[in-house]
């Protein structure tokens, strides 16, 4: 009996003790990658498609965990669980806070997991000279740049002159704040004939966005454009514009190319949709992890994935339509 038990134990030790050696021996440069986006939503779902496509092409295994809601308190326990697995070599993560996630990700690093951040970043996003330098790279389109591109798109749509207005969600949220900063910067520096007449916070309520925009249209009857810093803000603003009989005359920009945004574009509620490239982010991040594992040392610390501007004129062009956040099955 006891000899039998001993035999089992010994053979188990042999099997489990030798397995990793065997497997690392066989696939020397194929790391195992964890993917931890910010929250379940179309943007990250498309990013996951990129991750999976890239992983399939390279033959690496990816473990994906998606937090149900956005936030450090939700993301950290999942991160800790992924570290505790002990089998991950790389982690592709969209940190839900640029400061608070530094500690938890240093823990991952200490456990031998190298970090790549996608969409969002740690510290100030500068992994060369900034306060945080340990991640391999930050792959994403930053919000300030997105605000700049939105501003240029809107400026072009209104002919380079007139009054524009920003409707945003909440104060002190880095993403939408950055978009407004970039937007204001471009309008101030590149378009002297465009005046940004104000910014309101709708606190994530479409109803409030509509009310505020309706009031602004009363205040500024010659308003030429509105920048909605997210899809909801744009929909709220666009509803006010259409109800004021100004559909198609006051241009509305929506940030992020969700299918809802595209539906609004087709309905004429918004006139410009700014698409990020989450697929690119996910695809490149896996490539970077595999390259790093293979000993590539010249990976850029920052990759700007850029944007596409979608209008009613190009929305059916396959070259542009592929940037719409489309998740199969939903």
């Amino acid at each position: 009996m006891s000899r039998k038990l001993l035999l089992v134990v010994v053979s188990l030790v042999l099997v489990f003790g030798l397995l990793p050696v065997v497997s690392t021996g066989a696939q020397n440069d194929l790391p195992k990658i964890g993917f931890l986006p910010g929250v379940v939503d179309p943007f990250y779902q498309v990013m996951q498609l990129g991750v999976e496509a890239s992983a399939a092409a390279l033959g690496v295994e990816v473990v994906t965990q998606i937090p149900p809601t956005w936030g450090v308190e939700v993301q950290t326990p999942i991160l800790d669980a992924m570290i505790a697995r002990g089998d991950l070599d790389y982690l592709i993560i969209a940190p839900t806070d640029k400061d608070q996630m530094i500690g938890p990700l240093e823990t991952a690093l200490a456990a031998g997991i190298k970090v790549i951040t996608v969409d969002t970043f740690l510290g100030d996003g500068d992994y060369v000279n900034g306060p945080v330098t340990f991640p391999i790279s930050y792959i994403g389109s930053d919000n300030v740049e997105g605000g700049r591109i939105s501003a240029r798109g809107l400026a072009e749509a209104i002919g380079g002159e007139g009054k524009v207005y920003i409707n945003s969600t909440n104060p002190n949220v880095s993403s939408v704040e950055g978009r407004a900063i970039g937007f204001n910067e471009v309008m101030a520096n590149e378009y002297p004939d465009i005046e940004v007449i104000g910014l309101d916070f709708n606190l994530d309520s479409m109803d409030t966005a509509t009310q505020q925009t309706a009031a602004v249209l009363q205040r500024e009857p010659d308003l030429a454009g509105v920048f909605g810093t997210n899809v909801f803000s744009a929909q709220g603003a666009g509803t006010a514009v259409v109800n004021a009989g100004l559909g198609g005359e006051v241009q509305v920009v929506a940030y992020d190319a969700t299918q809802f945004a595209i539906e609004m574009l087709r309905a004429g509620t918004v006139s410009l949709v700014l698409a990020q490239k989450p697929f690119d982010m996910g695809y490149l991040a896996v490539q970077f992890a595999v390259a790093d594992a293979a000993g590539v040392t010249s990976l850029p610390k920052r990759v700007q994935t850029g944007f596409a501007i979608i209008t009613i004129d190009n929305v059916d062009d396959p070259e542009i339509a592929r940037f719409i956040y489309q998740v199969p099955g939903s």
């Binding site: 606190l203 109803d207 009310q211 309706a214 009857p221 909801f232 509803t239 009989g245 539906e263 939903s330």
Partner: protein
Amino acid sequence: MALGKQQAIEVGTTTSQRERRKQLVLLLSRVWAWVFLGILIVFFIVSVPIVSEGSVTFLTVRNSQNILVAITPVLLLGLGQTFVIIAGGIDLSVGWMMSLASVISALVIRETFNVGQPLLAAVIIGFVATVVGTGFVGFLNGTIIARLKVPAFIVTLGSSFIVRGVAFLLTDNTTVIGLPPGLRDYGNNALIYLIRGEGGGVYFLNSPDVTGDLLRNMDRVLPYPVVLTVIVVAIAMFLLKKTQFGRHTYAIGGNLEAALRAGIPVDRHIISLYMLSAVTAGIAGFLSTLRFTAGSAVIGDPLLLSSIAAVIIGGVSLFGGAGSVMGTVIGALLIAVLTTGLVMLNVLPFWQFIVVGVVVILAVLIDQARDLIIGRFESE
């Protein structure tokens, strides 16, 4: 003898003076919100043209309609809440309930329409599904509160999480889209169309087919969401003021023990109050689906605090037993007028928060001052 008569007369005079003063305080506390609203509107009527150097006026048909549309969700969330708070409870689930309703109505309308039903039928079925769905959750809320004696604060806080989870599950955290395009008309068209200026006129029910300047100068008077809300408010007002249901609501909030002893079916009544609260929040969600032609699992949550603020500004006592539907209407109007007016004044957006906060605290202070003064009158 003579002296005693003298005393009696003196006491009599002071009592009636006190009575008059008490009545005055009561009257003031009842109408202060009206007065404040009036002052606010006058303030904006005067200040908006000054700040804009004469180019903008606050008092326009369009602005009045914008404000009416803006109050509909806040008012509907606050409407059932008014009953619940008068009866001494609280319903913290109304915000997420509105979101759930938005999701349910969007899904039902889309699917009904997609199987070939006419749009109107789909909208009606969507409405019924919303009322039934939210009413069911309200029934659960009320049952746990009334029968199992769990504090309303806890139950509705808990159920708001559950409702939120269900709404996210139903939508997979995406916006419910693909709704019939004609739906937008139900949420944004109006009873009356007023076209100002040359070539203008008045049209009823159907939006006139105009473009350009005519379209720009067209005001939608009494949009459908406002009409539906007015109907719901009228029913609620009747219910609270004129029926046994209303009297029971006040009785339970005023003195639960007495209500029980008077033979009021307290448990059953409390359950129906939470159902009412859930359903009015549900109607708010239904209307937002029509307005924005989309269902969203996050649409209602930001409005929860505004709706409670509206109820409190309207003079509903958080300790139960006092309040009115009209008060809540005024409260919601106050907030909407403030938001619209401040945007038109172009002050920094943070002032919107500060002013609403000050008004809420002021409302409670006035409420307490009233109780204090009346209490002093009565103890003397």
